[in-house]
């Protein structure tokens, strides 16, 4: 995938942003970026700090979808999640010099902390759930695709509706677990909780979400 991304970048694009954008588009058409080992990530961070544009681009690719998945679980609309992702990724890319590696803490924890803080600021503005006309599912001509799209959309709505019924803390914890794929210790570090407490909330919330999603799917989801 990384090789594919670099092939997609035109040679005349010499600015970080052009590289970043081209590679991001390549990522969408070629699937998600393959997760890198922590050592490789820290190497990219060091290189990006010293002005290596391709390294910045690869860091962006690694985390942009993960940040979106996480903040979407916390926020009330796709529009807010897009804005929060954009703000968070800008903060990550422009604050790399301030990142201090800590032993036993992955870089993703730092990125996710920025994502959660950005989402919190938006969440607390208490804007109602909105649905931009642009956010309607893309129309395809293929009937099978349409059916699958409809099923996925139904499940997605059920998940979002069930999430909306959780309190802020529970939403954050499950979003960090399933959106950012962090473990209980990492989540506890970000939210300032005890890992045992996080595990307990996770278990309870997972059961609650499962029950609610099943009920919504059985009775049809209304948004």
């Amino acid at each position: 995938m990384i090789a594919t991304a670099s092939r997609c970048v035109p040679p005349f694009h010499d600015s970080l942003v052009s590289l970043l954008f081209s590679a991001a588009l390549c990522s969408r058409f070629g699937g998600e970026a393959i997760p890198l080992e922590e050592d490789a990530i820290l190497d990219l961070v060091e290189r990006a700090r010293s002005g290596d544009r391709a390294a910045g681009q690869r860091l962006y690719q690694q985390y942009v979808d993960r940040v979106f998945r996480t903040v979407r679980g916390i926020l009330r609309s796709d529009v807010e999640a897009e804005e929060a992702t954009q703000d968070a990724m800008l903060t990550v890319l422009t604050s790399l010099r301030r990142y201090v590696p800590r032993s036993g803490t992955r870089f993703v924890v730092w990125v996710t902390t920025i994502g959660v803080n950005t989402a919190r600021r938006r969440f607390r503005r208490r804007r109602p759930e909105s649905r931009d006309p642009d956010d309607l599912p893309a129309v395809t001509d293929d009937a099978i695709d349409l059916e699958r799209e409809a099923e996925n959309e139904q499940e997605r709505r059920a998940l979002l509706k069930a999430l909306a019924e959780l309190n802020e803390r529970e939403r954050e914890i499950v979003s960090l677990r399933y959106g950012s794929e962090l473990d209980a210790t990492e989540i506890a570090r970000i939210l300032g909780l005890e890992p045992a407490n996080v595990r307990k909330i996770l278990e309870r919330t997972r059961v609650q979400l499962g029950t609610r999603i099943d009920a919504l799917l059985n009775h049809g989801v209304k948004t």
Binding site: V17, L20, F21, D78, M89, T94, L160, L209, T211, I213
Partner: protein
Amino acid sequence: MNENELARKWALLEPEQRQRRRIDARVRGWLDASESSLTAQWLSLIKVHPVAVLSFAAVAACLVVVSTPLSWLARAVM
């Protein structure tokens, strides 16, 4: 619902292609603006719209030249 099932459902919250394109474009636009100096932005404007920029500069110069005697005239009339 177990861990894996919920993780699979969470994958549905992935950004769609056009959402991702919008995010990429905004991040790109912001970084582009922050990376280039004001002079560079003006120079790139000249490169993209040379006629419009030169016309604008000519009109601005004429206004500067004409406005001073006009203001004298206005004061004299009043």
